[in-house]
Amino acid sequence: MISPKLTRRGLFAATGGALILAACSDDSTESSDTKPSTGDSTGDTPGSGAEQAGGTEPYEVVVAISRDPEQLDPHKTGDNAEFIWNNVYEPLYRRSVDGSEVLPLLAAELPTQIDDTTWEIPLNPDARFASGDPVTAADVAYTIESIVHNDLVLSIGDRLEGIASAEAVDDLTVRMTTKTVDPIFLSRLTYGLIVQEGQREVEGWPQSGHNGSGAYTFDSWEPGSQVHLTRRDDYWGEDVSAAPSTVVVRIIPDKATQLLSLENNELDIVPELSPDQARTAPVSARVSGTDSTLIRTNTLNGRPLATPELREAGSLAIDRQAIVDVLFEGDATVAECQIAPATEFGHTVGLGEAEYDPDRARELVAEFYDGTPLSFIAGAGFSPKHSDVAQAVAQNLQDVGFNIDLQITDSREVLAAQFGSKDGFADLLLWTTNAELFEAIQSMQWVRGDHGFSAVQNDVVDAAVAEVLSTTDVAARQAAYDTINRTTCEEHLNYYLYYLDDFYGISEDIAWTPRAEGWIILKDIRPA
């Protein structure tokens, strides 16, 4: 019933773009022309003409999420409720809708790099909290410091972990230092939501006393049922009078129920759908290629898949095209033999799709397989259709002669073992990660790095991963990515399955374009 979501969607979405921006931020004149107040106007739905209508009738929008927000602290909340806080509070920067650009929000312009690890950020003088107080450098420094130096585990913590300190230079300038040269500094700042200085010490926080600079106020939360947000008419930024006046976020644990409610016009936005599910919605929307699904093989000594021929047999056995055609009704893409599709930085040209040849697989199995059962673990709540994909792949593998012991689970104990000690590793693990390579590498690092051993068991890949994480040189990073992609593909260390867009079901009453990082920014919604 409870679906832990493992993908950290949008964590460092489109870092390639961010990297380039960061690299040329010294002469950021053309970027800094971007007026902060229009920072989000790219989010407007092309078809929505409602904006010029000005003051539209007040209306309510209902959004479905699968689980409770879990935490009322905007810095502790889980993936699924992150968007709620992104409407109540605001970060320094926010991406454009398609994710390709980082635009100033509470900041006035892009950061200026002082030296390798020091950055200065000018703030927007117009920005105001709901209380009417201006957003000052002291507030920003307080927020960042309280996140990076907090003993509690904050969900946001690892996103900002490259930052060493933040201090106010004057009222409207913040100086931040990073621990090392940080290629994704700017991307990190699209996370930390700015709270007012002293917010954490307010009596009753976080149950009450929310005071954000966002276009919505947090009204109430009934655990297990719904969250209510109300539009602020005194929002400091652009005119939001055409945005929904009230928003209800309904907690509906079950995807089937969400779909039925959407079909019955009880909901306006349902995120995280599979393409066929989205098709049943009155209106469906997609945002391109954020998720990449693959199977990690366990090549540890003594396990059957340490044998290269058996790894190859496994890869040959999987009918990726059928999965894409049938389960996703053609609206996914068979993966090239690497995590990232061609649109992402770090993609290696010319690797092609993995081969499908069950007959050859059968021969290899007959020759090399001793019948040891292969454990295959898939988390049901990872991404749309995970459970179905796992069962289909297990069938493919059984058909060529493997003995598969499939476990589909949402048990956190079982899944955590896949990221913990190698004793808990399954022979096959189905998982979904962001297709953007830097994030994928970070995920791969969980799989191999934190606990002092390599799950990949391949020196070439390990060295290249280390290289990627420690250099800012674009060409060197591309070369390292090429090595990772080529090796994991040719050695069949991972079975890359498909790239899946994010699909949303939307009612006919509203016009809204989904965003690359997956947040629903409510002030961008317009009546249809």
Partner: protein, 307 residues
């Protein structure tokens, strides 16, 4: 009377004590509440920090005594997963389940008892047959499946009612029908059978011979059959209040106590689980006492027998 209440209260307390021990045991011995509240890729340091902040690094006996002490003061603390006071969640969820059960059991009584009376007194074979098949069907159809069929027909095809959630009266209709189906079958059955038995007893013949109207006769028979009917009916009501609504609540995304039990337990949320379990037990004990009182009203023989 007083003695019975003292006894009941004592039993309720013992029950609650055993229950909270069970919660503690299950969560600590079998589960890993710290891991549950962390991201999957948490490092051992993060784990240790979280364990400390939640107090799970202390010796087990110390945690146990603290826990039992807090629960004894009805202080369940904040839910681990929502950080909201655990009792608060229980108090918002319970009324919703009360509503569902109230409407559902109301339907059951309004339809079930008259139908049972008709079936017990009818002389027409086809009515009897039809009634019996309907009763049997009601007894056999699983609530959650019926709920889905109701959604298919009345929400998706006809568009009369919403598919899920809470809101106006329309939201209550389908889930309470789904909830009522099993109790309805049982109520019809027990009414029919006991009333039929009762109508064959000598006192009824005597009453008829004395020239009492058929309505008066039926009234007397029904009064005597009442205990059995009330027993089945109240048993079903108490079961529903004890969280057996979980299936219907899941199908209709109804945020009541049943789904809270399931969520709390699967999140290894000790404060929330304890609060829910104690609250449910409390409701069950109180409901059982009410049923006792009702029996005394219905059938003075019981009250006398107990003295």
């Amino acid at each position: 009377m007083l003695q019975v209440f003292v006894k009941r209260t004592f039993r309720g307390l013992v029950l609650a004590f055993v229950a909270v021990n069970l919660v503690f045991f299950v969560v600590h011995v079998i589960g890993d509440p710290v891991g549950r509240s962390l991201p999957l890729d948490a490092t051992p340091e993060q784990y240790a920090a979280r364990a400390e902040s939640l107090g799970f690094d202390r010796p087990l006996w110390e945690q146990y005594t603290d826990y039992v002490g807090d629960v004894a003061r009805l202080d369940f603390g904040d839910s681990i997963s929502t950080q909201a006071p655990a009792m608060g969640s229980v108090l918002t969820r319970f009324p919703r389940t009360f509503l569902l059960v109230g409407v559902g059991m109301g339907l059951t009584a309004l339809i079930g008892i008259p139908t049972g009376v008709i079936l017990a007194t009818t002389k027409r074979r086809w009515v009897d047959r039809l009634g019996n098949s309907l009763t049997l069907t009601a007894l056999s159809v699983p609530q959650f499946w019926l709920g889905i069929l109701l959604i298919l027909v009345f929400s998706l095809k006809l568009g009369w009612f919403p598919t899920s959630g809470i809101g106006g009266w329309k939201h209550v209709v389908l889930p309470s029908i789904a909830l009522a189906i099993g109790p309805l079958g049982k109520t019809i059955q027990i009414t029919q059978v006991t009333l039929r038995d009762e109508l064959q007893k000598p006192y009824i013949r005597t009453a008829r011979a004395k020239g009492l109207s058929e309505g008066r006769v039926l009234y007397h028979a029904l009064r005597n059959a009442g205990v059995a009917v009330a027993t089945v009916f109240s048993h079903e009501t108490i079961l529903a209040l004890a969280g057996y609504t979980v299936l219907v609540e899941t199908v209709f995304a109804w945020p009541g106590i049943g789904s809270l039990i399931a969520e709390a337990i699967s999140n290894l949320d000790i404060p929330l689980t304890s609060a829910v379990v104690v609250a449910v037990l409390l409701v069950v004990v109180v409901a059982n006492s009410l049923v006792d009182i009702m029996y005394r009203r219905l059938d003075p023989r019981i009250a006398r027998g107990l003295k």
